[in-house]
Amino acid sequence: MSSVIESHHDDHHHGPAKGLMRWLLTTNHKDIGTLYLWFSFAMFLIGGAMAMVIRAELFQPGMQIVEPEFYNQMLTLHGLIMVFGAVMPAFVGLANWLVPMMVGAPDMALPRLNNLSFWLLPFAFGILLSSLFMEGGAPNFGWTFYAPLSTTYAPPSVTFFIFSVHIMGASSIMGSINVIVTIMNMRAPGMDLMKMPLFVWSWLITAYLLIAVMPVLAGAVTMMLMDIHFGTSFFNAAGGGDPVLFQHIFWFFGHPEVYIMILPAFGIVSHIIETFSRKQLFGYSSMVWAMLSIAILSFVVWAHHMFTVGMPLAAELFFMWATMLIAVPTGVKVFNWVATMFKGSITYETPMLFAISFVVLFTIGGFSGLMLSIVPADFQYHDTYFVVAHFHYVLVPGSIFSIMAAVYYWIPKWTGNMYDERMGRLHFWLSFVGVNVTFFPQHWIGLAGMPRRYPDYALQFADWNMVSTAGAFLFGASQILFLFIVLKTVMGGKKATPQVWEGARGLEWSVESPAPYHTFSTPPKVN
């Protein structure tokens, strides 16, 4: 028996296996990071295509392109795919690539579990997407799947949706356990908690949030399953339950979830701004405390998504004030980024352009969030395009821009090649213009009263919808350019130095580019 294991052990430290098996059987954090990132990109393009269907239908008032039933399915799948398929896996992919290198570990702590976390996702999303071809169509109840739309009135494919959510949750929980254990247990000697790179800190907190709330989501979809098929009455008032209970459980998951999608972005942007300002980050420890406060507060603000559902006044007030509190640590972060740039020797390479526009546009999304947190004002804004504009500002020029910034910033380390700077900047400006043209007008039509989630609208909203659709297609098309730039960089390009960027600091820049298949088999010294 032991001889089997010995021979197994001897294989250690050969390069990657060849062909498809390398990707199916890999336990290497860099391979798995790459898999996550490509999967996320594929989902981003699929979810983006669905957004194009939505925007094309909204180009003019009236029904032109799709049936309302199909519009609802596109809307639902767009949200689910972007949240669970694009943004979250992209951040997990970045964590896989970067966390072990940043803390000086040989790999993730639980390498086989890491492979399982990834490979569950294509299966889960395969099932979710296949529901488009099932009888009754794909889920059509919005990404928040409120009961009773998602229970009493749901299409039969909801059962497949429920189980695929279970699988996505299992994947997230296992991935997060891996990240936490890596950070807690695998740091190189001398890397104290308060010396960790901020991206590592941001992921430690994110992973904690994920482990805390993904099981709650699993509970919510389990209750749905039981209500639909086994006669329970969790969300049915006739049996003593309450449809509002669904919203409470969902948003107890959902609000930490939105911070799960932004905290790693905070980490990324901190690194990039520091590097291209050629200065040390301003207020490192306040950055850590701000992220911790945001994470803790995220558990006590969930009902601000439900101000109009009919809650007791005391609850409305509590959730309003708790929500407003979050502006404080978020403000700390924004001021710290600005202070880092202040009097820095700034250069504007593509990652820095994305990072700066992240700071500006994410702050706009943050401010509209503050407006929404005011209960009496929210009665007006609720379920209008103002909300759509708000969360797209924090998710697209927020999370997605930070992911793009991270790709441009670290791709020389991943591939050993520099990307084409001119094309990168072109991609940035097209995306920047596209995003603002798409989403800024949605603030106005929302304030004017256009409700979200409908395939049609009143005539007075026609002009800005047309503008918004034009912007969406510009943004969508410019992502094809992004794909092209990434492919071109993978194929070849100017060779990157180990440090890549003049101001870059951190362990990942101490190894050659591309990073060797195995880094830090013995831990490096950290001062």
């Binding site: 028996m1 197994h8 250690h12 059987l25 890999t26 336990t27 290497n28 040989p106 790999d107 702590a109 639980l110 390498p111 086989r112 579990l113 492979n115 399982l116 490979w119 299966f123 395969g126 099932i127 039969p156 059962t159 497949f160 429920i162 699988i167 929980i173 997060s176 356990i177 891996n178 936490i180 254990v181 807690m184 247990n185 695998m186 482990i211 805390a212 099981p215 709650v216 699993a218 509970g219 209750m223 006669g231 329970t232 009455s233 969790f234 008032a237 006739a238 049996g239 003593g240 339950g241 309450d242 509002v244 209970l245 459980i249 107890f252 809650m311 007791p312 006044l313 195995h518 013995t522």
Partner: protein, 301 residues
């Protein structure tokens, strides 16, 4: 201190098998559930195939880890990774139960009283004006039109009937099992494998007794009290909370049984290396704590 190399397997077939069998499993589960009223359907075959493949993969995966451990591939650092990993896994389980306890507390404190016309949102009483809020909720708000009204609940039946009250025996059994598993642990730490095996065997036996008692309780509820999943929100919360707990008891009991087999037949574990057992015993204590919460909030209060 000399640095021990962290063992990273070069590649592994287990995860992709696990992922693929889960894929089959959930296709099977969804199709089976969607065709519950179609007796011709063969979807359950897919479900069982997936389940069998998944369990087999887990068996071989764990066997491999045990082999690696016995071959001395695991450094102290890797063992520590398993310790952290198990702790965070249990935390995720805690949050899963928190969702169901949260639902119970919300329903009892807000939804049911509002439906009965009490409190700030008592306006809800206009839906079914004859409904009066009670807990345990036996009469559903719609007066049993869509749901089945049970004869009685599973709550504390009063001191005079306490000797027939199964949950009390369940509590005694499960609390004692937490003590016996601790005795097993103490024995092992002293290097006394015989003490370990005996106390662990008793623990597994108690787990079986608990599951048997709970089966009897469910039988009584369904057959004698007419209390089912269809009995409104009381039946829903009762069966989901105790059911998921019971499922976790089976899982924890299985873990402990595997540890017993490993110890008795394969001579695994000694006073220094026994985290496999420790992880299972942590899980067992967690299951026990959940039961105490259940006993308090589902049965007594």
């Amino acid at each position: 201190m000399e640095y021990q190399k962290y063992y990273v397997p070069e590649s592994s077939k287990f995860p992709i098998f696990a992922a693929f069998s889960l894929f089959i499993l959930i296709i099977g589960a969804s199709s089976t559930i969607n065709s519950l009223d179609n007796p011709e359907s063969n979807a359950s075959l897919i479900l069982y195939t997936g389940l069998a493949c998944f369990l087999a993969t887990l068996f071989f995966w764990f066997r491999q880890v045990v082999k690696e451990n016995n071959a001395g591939l695991e450094s102290a650092q890797l063992s520590q990774s398993f310790v952290y990993g198990m702790a965070w896994f249990i935390f995720s389980e805690v949050m899963f139960f928190a969702a169901f306890f949260g639902a119970l507390f919300y329903v009892r404190s807000f939804a049911v009283p509002w439906l009965g016309g009490e409190g700030e949102k008592g306006l809800a009483n206009m839906l079914w004006q004859d409904f009066e809020a009670t807990w345990p909720l036996i009469n559903t708000p719609d007066g049993g039109k869509a749901f089945v009204i049970a004869a009685k609940s599973m709550s504390f039946p009063g001191w005079e009937n306490i000797s027939h009250w199964l949950p009390l025996y369940n509590t005694i059994v499960l609390l004692s099992s937490s003590v016996t598993v601790h005795f097993a642990h103490l024995g092992l730490k002293k290097g006394n494998k015989k003490t370990f095996n005996i106390w662990l065997g008793i623990t597994v036996l108690l787990a079986l007794i608990f599951v048997g008692l709970q089966a009897a309780e469910y039988y009584e509820a369904y057959e004698h009290f007419g209390l089912t999943l269809n009995s409104g929100i009381y039946g829903s919360t009762f069966f989901m909370l105790t059911g998921f707990h019971g499922f976790h008891v089976m899982l924890g009991g299985l873990m402990l049984a595997v540890m017993l087999i490993r110890s008795v037949f394969y001579g695994h574990f000694n006073e220094h290396k026994h985290f496999g057992f420790e992880a299972a015993s942590w899980y067992w204590h967690f299951v026990d704590v959940v039961w105490v919460m259940l006993f308090l909030f589902v049965y007594i209060l």
